[in-house]
């Protein structure tokens, strides 16, 4: 199992090949979102909802062998792509590992472009949701 940090480093190097081309980044994010596993419609309930300024995100999880596995969905393709990255980082990790993870890939990839200050709700509250889930499942 890779550490959250090394997964983040992988993401960063993937994004580096995109050369800061805004259009390519968007299309890559959309592709990533499309690759996410289908989200169970039953899980599209308010409890699992993270409401951003312009988009909605749903997040659910399972625990297998002490590790958390996340799945999620969004009504916007680009947000879904961002979400898929967070799922990649946090899935298959213990609650402890999730809690202590610092997300540095967002700044380094330039994806902070999508964390406008008041829209921080977007990415920031996504991150918070992961951490809260982890906290509530800590031993």
């Amino acid at each position: 199992m890779k550490s959250t940090n090394s997964i983040q480093k992988d993401i960063i190097s993937n994004f580096q090949t995109l050369d800061d081309d805004f259009e390519m980044i968007l299309n890559y994010l959309i592709e990533l979102g499309e690759k996410l596993d289908e989200f169970d419609v039953e899980e599209k309930k308010d409890d699992n909802l993270i409401k951003g300024c312009q988009s909605k995100v749903w997040l659910s999880y399972k625990i297998i062998d002490n590790k958390l596995f996340f799945s999620g969905d969004s009504n916007t393709s680009i947000t879904k792509g961002l979400l898929s990255l967070l799922i990649k980082v946090f899935s298959n990790q213990t609650a402890e590992e999730i809690i202590k993870t610092k997300l540095f890939f967002i700044n380094e990839t330039g994806l902070c472009r999508f964390i406008g200050t008041q829209r921080s709700n977007g990415l920031e509250s996504m991150e918070n949701k992961f951490k809260i889930i982890a906290l509530s499942n800590k031993k």
Partner: protein
């Protein structure tokens, strides 16, 4: 200048930002309802103020203060002419439309509206013309009523007439909707109000850069606008109010400038318009606003309206040809503001994808959530046009949008 000789490129050259590249594409700025870009003469006049005659105004007698005061007051004169107010005293500087509405809501209500009275707004109002009324109504137990808006984005005049009762004391209505582009029949509405002794306030934020405003002809009691939506700087707005009403209103804020004599026993207030301008105002930007008005006056609002109408019709026809697009707001009388959704693409994705092509549009609820709720929408994408936009830009936009849809 007649419309024949009207050359958008000559105008574009006056806007430094329009030469910028965004994400390697030429900027196409279609977010004019949020804020317009600024011509070089506005930028330079602010620069000049700070470089040559910056000083605090009104009380100073030295040369810089004198010059700054003159230039500041010159803007008031220009505004007064621009909206055709009877007197310069009827022109109060604010930070923008929002502050203006709050000023009116707060100062007017204290004297003229009582518990149980009614205020009318419409369903298509911007949050800035909703929340101040909600706050003041709740505090003072006043009833807030809203005029129905039809599916096509027009206001329901019959419903408006039905809402009027002998308790109705105030109408606050948007001139031109920032979401739908609808131009409301405000003159007719004001006339109805006059017959019923209802005071009227017009939210002119989206109107003032696009069509001639004549407050005497309209006969409204208040009119508010924002400079930043009129090619002027951020941080400046206007409250126009009829002198006899402003005279009777208590001040909004207290502080320097708005007083005549301060005494711990009895403080007396300054005359109009200063009574409503507490503290050091936004001197630099008020001075810059004068140049924005010059810019508009030089082209002429007739020419602007004519060109923008042509542009709007062109855009409207082009958009209607796009498959999968739904235009929200099809009022017969509207300006170049197009809210739309696209089947299968969320407006947020649309906004970002178009941005990657250099096209700046706005997405979301446009600060008109009640209207969104009414139309069962969470938000829309919005294209809003201004004098420097061109048919070429519309073509480019349509091309890119079609590519995204297919």
């Amino acid at each position: 200048m007649s419309i024949k000789s009207f050359n958008p490129n000559r105008i574009r050259n006056k806007f430094p930002i329009l030469n910028k590249k965004i994400n390697n594409n030429q900027l196409v700025y279609f977010d004019n309802a949020a804020t317009t870009q600024k011509p070089i003469q506005v930028i330079e006049s602010i620069n000049k103020y700070y470089s040559e005659y910056n000083a605090n105004i009104h009380r100073g007698i030295h040369t810089l203060a004198e010059k700054a005061t003159q230039e500041y007051e010159k803007t008031r004169k220009t505004v007064s002419k621009f909206i055709n107010s009877r007197s310069e005293k009827e022109v109060i500087f604010t930070r923008g439309t929002t502050e203006g509405i709050n000023l009116i809501a707060s100062s007017f209500v204290k004297n003229f509206i009582k518990k149980g009275d009614e205020i009318i707004i419409s369903e298509m109002e911007h949050h800035s013309n909703i929340v101040p009324w909600q706050m003041i109504c709740e505090e003072n137990e006043i009833i807030l009523k809203t005029i129905n808006v039809f599916e096509n984005g027009e206001i329901d005049l019959d419903n408006f007439k039905e809402l009027i009762s002998n308790k109705t004391k105030f109408l606050s209505i948007v001139h031109t909707s920032n979401t739908l582009g609808t131009v409301n029949p405000i003159k007719e509405m004001i006339e109805i109000c006059k017959k019923n002794n209802i005071i009227t306030m017009i939210d002119g934020a989206q109107a003032s850069a696009h069509s001639k405003i004549d407050v005497q002809d309209l006969n409204c009691d208040f009119f508010v606008l924002s400079a930043h939506k009129m090619y002027g700087p951020t941080g400046v707005g206007i409250v126009y109010g009829k002198e006899e009403i402003l005279e009777k209103m208590p001040p909004y804020m207290g502080g320097g400038e708005m007083i005549k004599d301060v005494n711990f026993k009895k403080t007396t207030y300054n005359e109009l318009p200063y009574k409503f301008e507490a503290g050091t105002p936004n001197i630099g930007d008020v001075i810059g606003f004068n140049e924005a008005l010059s810019f508009i006056n030089n082209i002429g609002l007739d020419n602007i309206s004519l060109y923008e109408k042509e542009l709007k019709n062109y855009a409207s026809n082009s958009f209607n040809e796009i498959e999968g697009i739904n235009i929200i707001g099809n009022s017969k009388n509207k300006i170049g503001i197009f809210s739309f959704t696209v089947d299968k693409i969320h407006y947020y994705d649309l906004g970002l994808l178009l941005d990657s092509k250099g096209i700046a549009i706005r997405t979301g609820h446009h600060c008109t959530q009640p209207l969104m709720d009414k139309f069962n929408l969470e938000g829309t994408a919005r294209v809003s046009l201004a004098i420097y936009n061109t048919k070429n830009e519309i073509d480019y936009f349509v091309e890119k949008l079609k590519q995204l849809i297919n």
